[in-house]
């Protein structure tokens, strides 16, 4: 039992304990009231919720971009509150990958250069092996012909696929995706989601995806819903039934 617990704990890549976040502006706005989640290596988790429910806030805290008001965040077993600013940058570079609603690729760099950015930030120059790895990933997502093109010469779906490969370039343990299909038409959105799912299965990186799309959420391993600053897991069967009935209604 103890062994199995140890194994399970060692496979947890993201864990939060009593995570709270309050914004202190003119008005005090509590957003997260005490979040406890655990994400296993290789898991694909969808986070759903109304706009303003705190999904993106949670994702930013998990990505060490924002700090909680209370509670603990462990990434790959490390309490991020104990890390210096440079250590947090290194954590974001090597352990975490980010995909945003907008691709945020650098217009000045080509598709390949953008995909290599996490490596070049860290090492200055990518090795031949690293370049081959990233080229293979780009090929895998259908961007082999686009590697020398700049973002303005590629479609929205192609840019988002490049952004996913950028998130995977340093072989992170967890990829945080904040509505990655939110800015794409449904066809491109499906393509991007399928690629993320495939990468999740092939590369073993855990994915935490915030989405408004119930249909895509249904494809995740687990669905977490955030409501009024609290998180709870949704039974996928129930969610599926709800989804079918809402489709029938429409």
């Amino acid at each position: 039992m103890a062994d199995s617990e140890t194994t399970t704990r060692s496979q947890i890549v993201v864990e939060t304990r009593g995570l709270k976040k309050t914004y202190f502006g003119k008005v005090e706005t509590p957003v997260l009231h005490g979040i406890d989640i655990q994400v296993q290596a290789g898991e694909f988790i969808a986070i759903i919720g109304q706009s303003g429910s705190g999904k993106s806030t949670l994702l930013n805290i998990l990505g060490a971009l924002d700090v909680p008001t209370e509670g603990t965040v462990l990434i790959d077993g490390v309490d991020i509150a104990t890390l210096s600013e440079d250590d947090l940058a290194a954590l974001r570079n090597r352990v975490i990958g980010f995909v945003f609603q907008f691709h945020y690729l650098l217009d000045e760099l080509s598709c390949l250069e953008n995909a290599l950015t996490p490596i070049t930030i860290c090492k200055g120059e990518a090795s031949e092996d690293e370049k081959s790895y990233v080229l293979a990933l780009l090929d895998r997502v259908g961007l082999a012909e686009q590697i020398n093109k700049h973002p303005d010469a590629m479609s929205g779906g192609q840019n988002q696929r490049c952004a996913i490969i950028r998130a995977l370039a340093n072989q992170p343990k967890v990829v945080l995706a904040d509505e990655p299909t939110g800015n794409l038409d449904s066809r491109s959105g499906n393509e991007v989601f399928n690629i993320m799912r495939e990468m999740n299965r092939e590369k073993g990186a855990a994915f935490i995806m915030v989405t408004h799309d119930d249909r895509l959420a249904q494809e995740a391993d687990r669905i977490l819903a955030i409501e009024d600053g609290w998180v709870h897991e949704i039974d996928k069967r129930e969610h599926r039934m709800k989804l079918i009935s809402s489709l029938n209604d429409s």
Partner: protein
């Protein structure tokens, strides 16, 4: 992707690549910032070349034809008896009367010259006779300053040969004289004619005109050999002045002070003879520095504002870079390097264009010229490498400082705020 930047250390390569890409894709914005730096440098190069060119020309005009330090016997100032303490109770006069100027001899001039030559910054020391006289040819005598000195040495102290419009100076015989063009005109004489030269001591020598010179500075004087000068002024083997030329013009005061401390004579530097001239040169230089500083400040503000806009435009990119692991120091380096590249490109372009402008300005000549001489430059500009180098360095420092503030702002951006 690599190769061209392989000479840059690995831990700077990402930043250098990004800074270069930002500039290369910046188009008009990049050209505008480089142009701002270049404009600042052009102003400095042009201004310093013009002001220091004018300064050099004026200084040369004034000092070329005069010794930098003149050594002569000190004129004793009369002192009222009441100021002599020992004679407190004695009779005293309240009337102070200066002695009439007299030619005073420097008898030990050979020793004095040896001593003067040991003073640092002294290029040469020349024994000479200087006095007033009258030149005449038949009609009324005309007052003239007479200098008696060895011609070849005199040429090194206040050149005569280079201003000759006819005849010769070096190789002057004892019965020959070189006179100024205006004096020659007034006396209606030319080369080979004979004039009478009468000194203030009353001695008269008939002299033949061996050369006529013009410095374009109004009526000049007459030059004879040292021997003739001694004879004219009845000085025997003595001289009454030692003319000193120094290497660094603006170090003349120190040379004069040093000579005075070593010899019992009065040594006067050119800069103390013309204090208002020196003061106006100082004002000119200060103005040049001031205008240069203001133009640098103005271009720094222009650069800072363009870079601030650039940082604001790239705030989302900065956010994403930080979210994928770029450190604060790396972002700072990207934008500081961008500023540094702008500074290098702008200041070098400014130095080249400024030098070209100065060169072009140096070409036009004045419409009139001194008799027998080619016309002077219309703009007396001088390309001064030290000031061009200084302008480049100053522009680089100012630009990097101007770039540092927006870079710092970029580095401290919170990715969550900028990507929201």
């Amino acid at each position: 992707m690599k190769s061209s930047l392989s000479w840059i250390p690995l831990n700077w390569r990402f930043e250098a690549r990004l800074a270069l890409r930002y500039l290369m894709t910046g188009g008009g914005q990049t050209l505008l910032t480089i142009g701002s730096v270049a404009a600042g440098v052009i102003v400095i190069v042009f201004l310093t070349s013009l002001i220091f060119g004018i300064r050099a020309k004026l200084t040369k005009m004034l000092t070329e034809s005069m010794p930098h330090v003149t050594v002569k016997v000190r004129d004793l100032e009369p002192v009222p008896l009441s100021e002599i303490q020992d004679l407190d109770s004695a009779m005293s006069s309240s009337r102070i009367e200066k002695k009439a100027p007299q030619l005073k001899f420097i008898d030990d001039w050979q020793h004095a010259i040896d001593t003067i030559r040991t003073v640092p910054n002294v290029r040469m020391a020349l024994p000479a006779i200087q006095g007033q006289g009258f030149a005449s040819k038949g009609g009324n005598p005309i007052g003239v300053s007479v200098t008696g000195a060895d011609p070849s040495q005199q040429d090194q102290v206040s050149p005569v040969t280079k201003d000759l419009i006819a005849g010769k100076y070096v190789g002057l015989a004892a019965d020959e004289v070189v006179i100024d063009y205006e004096l020659a005109k007034d006396l209606s004489v030319s080369i080979g004619d004979r004039i009478r030269m009468t000194s203030s001591t009353g001695n008269t020598e008939p002299l033949s005109i061996a050369g006529i010179y013009s410095r374009g500075q109004g009526r000049g004087g007459a030059y004879v050999t040292l021997r003739t000068g001694q004879s004219l002024f009845g000085m025997g083997n003595s001289v009454n002045v030692i003319l000193v030329k120094v290497n660094d013009l603006f170090g003349s005061d120190e040379v004069a002070d040093r000579i005075q401390s070593l010899l019992p004579y009065e040594a006067r530097s050119w800069s103390r003879e013309y204090p208002s001239f020196v003061s106006s040169l100082t004002v000119q230089s200060a103005s040049a520095y001031l205008i240069s500083a203001f133009s640098l400040i103005a271009s720094s503000f222009a650069i800072a504002s363009v870079l601030i806009v650039s940082v604001l435009q790239k705030s989302k990119q900065i956010g994403i870079l930080k979210s994928i692991g770029a450190k604060r120091s790396q972002i700072l380096r990207v934008f500081t390097l961008e500023g540094l590249i702008i500074a290098l490109a702008g200041s070098l372009a400014g130095a080249a264009l400024g030098s070209l402008l100065v060169f072009l300005l140096s070409l036009p000549l004045q419409k009139t010229a001194r008799p027998g001489h080619v016309p002077d430059q219309l703009f007396p500009v001088a390309i001064l490498p030290v000031y061009i180098f200084g302008a480049v360095i100053a522009a680089i420092i100012a630009t990097v400082i101007a770039a540092w503030f927006p870079a710092k702002r970029a580095a401290s951006m919170n990715p969550v705020d900028v990507m929201r």
